[in-house]
Subunit: 179 residues, 2 copies
């Protein structure tokens, strides 16, 4: 493979609840050595959930890494052995109470290829119907239904401030322009 960096040594620095940190000593394509700091993450799913009247279901939650609350599409970590589609259905229901009979796979992507192996699998959930949510015990969030214009306004004022949500909103906008 092009520019392959062979791993010569792995130092396992940290193993936490959500992530692990490794420092890998690699051989560069020109034979020299370098170190690469790599965060290991179980992977996640995110859902672009649309209601029957064409609004986007988003959640506001506090993110300690940013030390602020942001508004995001529903998402969550994959549990061990869990299929991404099952995780998407579960997280949508747990975080928002909504469910959909029309869930389809859109795209998968690395969030931070420079230092982390996290992959997010993004799904589209159309004609979502409301129900009761079930949050994890350390999860606190608010639910909102927003129009496309409100979504763009929230991107402009940085209430929406993460890559997966902005990517999903752009996809939503392209979807309507394709129809």
């Amino acid at each position: 493979m092009k520019f392959y960096e062979r791993t010569k040594k792995v130092d396992e620095i940290f193993k936490g609840k959500m992530i692990q940190l490794h420092v890998e000593t690699v051989e560069l394509p020109d034979g020299r050595e370098a170190t690469r700091e790599v965060v290991r993450h179980p992977g996640a799913v995110a859902v672009l959930p649309l209601t029957e009247d064409g609004r986007l279901i988003v959640v506001e939650q506090f993110r300690k890494a940013l030390d602020r609350s942001i508004i995001e599409i529903p998402a969550g970590k994959l549990e061990a052995g869990e299929a991404p589609l099952a995780c998407a259905i579960r997280e949508l229901k747990e975080e928002t109470g909504y469910s959909s009979d029309e869930i389809s796979y859109l795209v998968s992507f690395s969030t931070s290829p420079g230092f982390a192996d996290e992959i997010i699998h993004l799904y589209l959930a159309q004609n979502c119907k409301p129900g009761k949510n079930h949050l994890d015990e350390d999860e606190f969030l608010d639910l909102m239904l927003i129009s496309k214009e409100e979504a763009y306004q929230m991107i402009a004022n940085q209430q929406i401030y993460d890559a997966k949500t902005i990517l999903a909103i752009y996809y939503w906008d392209l979807l309507s322009k394709r129809d």
Copy 2:
């Protein structure tokens, strides 16, 4: 602030070349305690660079976190005290040799709000003109110019596989549909 988690203690686990890792003990909104694993990153810029004939300039590089090469828009870490626009101009030139007199700010986003504070500032560079590139000494990459159809094909076959690049390609597509 909504759902604020007050930090009670910070354990500094690791300080590397690119990232730092902290484990923060926080007080949840209901008064209980939890820990949050937080990767600290200096932030980065990315550029959506378009040539005069309307193609996208991308680079293929090896990413140890994914253990494979992927095709991305040009991007790089902010140096200490560096303004994002200056970093965008520098990284575009260093990685691709291209430069542009028409660079504009698009949007900023957190890449992994669940565990990292990395923010990417995305710029649009139009009518880019070629020149000579200057890679960092441990940087190996290939340059490509691709059409929008090729970009979507590369997303479909996961040669393009990271959030910032897919987000930027969707933006590019929306831009043409707005004109």
